[in-house]
């Protein structure tokens, strides 16, 4: 490519990066404002908004609810998704494309439709406004992410290792626990991470099926944005950005480990 054109491209990319990252960063200082309006210049420095979000009501209880529901949804979706990924990777499956369509359908259907459906159906079962209902709803919507991530890891997994374990007398379960699981662990972990982030950020289903007792963090933010927006939302946002940087680092680490495992496994 001509050098001039490449320069234009790089300049364009820099602008795009500012577009991508800028907004999140630009609003962070406002969370330290001593005033309750949301614009520059700031009249003074204060930690009042951080004090406010550290109060039990409404922010910390919402955070706790989100963590509980996220943990539950992650557990359910990771276990079921990993088992299914193992099953799908063994080949020789009747109606494979049909099964594939069913298991990834929660990802394809717009979440508003899923949310309304769960609202109708869970109401009949008494699962609306309950932790269990929200955990199941988030788990089923997150499971395709786990499935896809673990399937991708299994593609690079050498089946001969399991055969070797079996020929040495290991039971299938023992072989799974001591050979397969440690090798696919990075994939499982990043799948679980995806599932947790999904649940932690999910608001639409929560709007439909959570009651006042299960108010999650995204729902609290959604209501705040719609009704009365003040800098405490930006203080919470800042904390969430820090959390997401940590999670992103964790994801990158898991992927790096997956790559290392792959190269050692292929030796």
């Amino acid at each position: 490519m001509p050098v001039a054109l490449r320069r234009v491209q790089i300049a364009f990319c820099c602008l795009a990066m500012i577009f991508l990252i800028g907004p999140t960063i630009v609003v962070i200082p406002i969370s330290f404002s001593s005033a309750n309006f949301l614009s520059y210049p700031l009249p003074g420095f204060s930690l009042q908004w951080y004090e406010k979000i550290l109060q039990p009501q409404p922010w910390m209880s919402a955070l706790l609810n989100s963590l509980i529901i996220g943990a539950g949804a992650t557990l359910v979706s990771t276990v079921l998704g990993t088992l299914a990924a193992l099953g799908m990777s063994r080949g020789r499956l009747p109606a494979r494309s049909m099964i594939l369509a069913v298991v990834i359908s929660p990802m394809i259907v717009p979440v508003v439709i899923s949310g309304v459906g769960m609202y109708f159906f869970f109401a009949k079962l008494g699962l609306v406004a309950s932790f269990l209902g929200l955990v199941l709803a988030h788990a089923v919507l997150a499971v395709p992410f786990v499935l896809i991530t673990v399937t991708a890891t299994l593609k690079n997994f050498d089946v001969n290792l399991v055969r070797a374990a079996a020929s040495l007398g290991a039971s299938p379960f023992h072989a799974f626990r001591t050979v397969t699981l440690p090798l696919i662990a990075p994939g499982v972990i990043s799948g679980a991470l995806f599932a947790f982030v999904f649940s932690f950020d999910e608001v639409v289903v929560a709007l439909f099926i959570s009651g006042p007792g299960q108010r999650t963090l995204p729902r609290q933010m959604f209501d705040g944005l719609r009704d009365n927006i003040d800098p405490s939302i930006l203080a919470m946002s800042t904390l969430l950005v820090i959390i997401s940087i940590v999670l992103m680092g964790g994801g990158a680490l898991a992927q790096k480990r997956a790559a290392t495992n792959r190269s050692t496994a292929n030796v």
């Binding site: 491209q9 991508l20 949301l38 520059y40 369509a101 719609r226």
Partner: protein, 428 residues
Amino acid sequence: MARAMTSVVFPGPRIGAADGRPGRVSALATGFRADRRRQTIGSLVLIGPLVVFIVFAFVLPLGTMLFHAINNPEVRNAFPMTLASLEDWDGMGTPPDAAFDAVAADIRASADPKTMAEAGRRLNYEITGFRSLLAKTVRTVRKAPEQPARTQLLAIDGNWGNPAYWRVIQRNGTPLTAFYLLSAVDLRPGENGGVQMAPPEERLFLSTLMRTLTISALVTLICLFVAYPIANAIVAIGGRLSAIMLACVLLPFWTSLLVRTSAWIVILQKEGVVNRLLQALNITNAPLELVFNRTGLYIAMVHILLPFMVLPLVSVMKGISPSYVKASASLGAGPVTTFLRVYLPLTLPGVGAGCLLTFIISAGYYVTPTLVGGASDQMLSYFVAFYANTTINWGMSAALGVLLLTCILALYGIVGRIVGIGRIVGME
């Protein structure tokens, strides 16, 4: 799986005459088939729990939702005798006295006040004013039923003499209805069995559908034109700069949607950073309206969906060997020809996957349009939620859901046929 394989590699005692015929080959074949079967059963056992879970927590809810689009129980529950008395009525003129008597009898017979209220709400969808007419009638007839019922009903409201009202009751005696689905595309059941366009002031959803598709298409197009150079730079430049760019694309991906949406609301408001900057640079004198309208919606949606376009493009571009481009150049093609005839066609699978993903996510988007868009920028998903939550018109909510889902599945079908669904979601 391991068990199955070892028994094929090291044939055990099953070698012999499993199918009654001697011979090593057929015995091996039988053993192999049995192992395959066992392997299949093992796979199904592993997948089973997930399938059961998805059917319970997703397929059944979705089915319930879709069923509401055609479910029509209200009038049948409230007016069984009336419907029976209207069975032979030809729809012309006022119905016989027996029908009036049956209405009064049905009103007196309905124990649960909700039954009549639901029927009133249902009939009101088709003729505005039916709900209050029925409520008034129920109140009066319950208090002091009079004979003949025809005189009393006509005294309560002259519309009981209007055949159109009776025809609506008669038509909704069926357990299933096409009314909501027709309404979702601005049609109404016609008077003589056909369909007709809804009155102009009630035409709402076709324009909403068009708006949904237009916004999604434009967002997808903008994302494609912004993402393509970025993805190319990430792959082509390499080194630290690439890593930084990739991190910049991934960070929003991992950041809460609501964090990003709130950031845009703050930045784009009248006193926000963007307006201050534009005024400081003397580009505008007065603050621009950038949020709670279409402009803000496009900005926020492109920001949120850009990673979904960049990532598939990066993964496809990574697989393109630079020697293709070099070969093209060495054969005398200029940069433009090389790009159009060599590089671009090779990236098309990524373009297809990225566009599909972006388009579908934006077509079903709820959170950002609700918070950042104005009243006239709302898309189908907003109305799905609105009818379910605010007006409790579940049938309409479900029918709009069917409309949205049909569009999305059609798109998956088309692109899936070209690119392959497994490839789009990254499973093949």
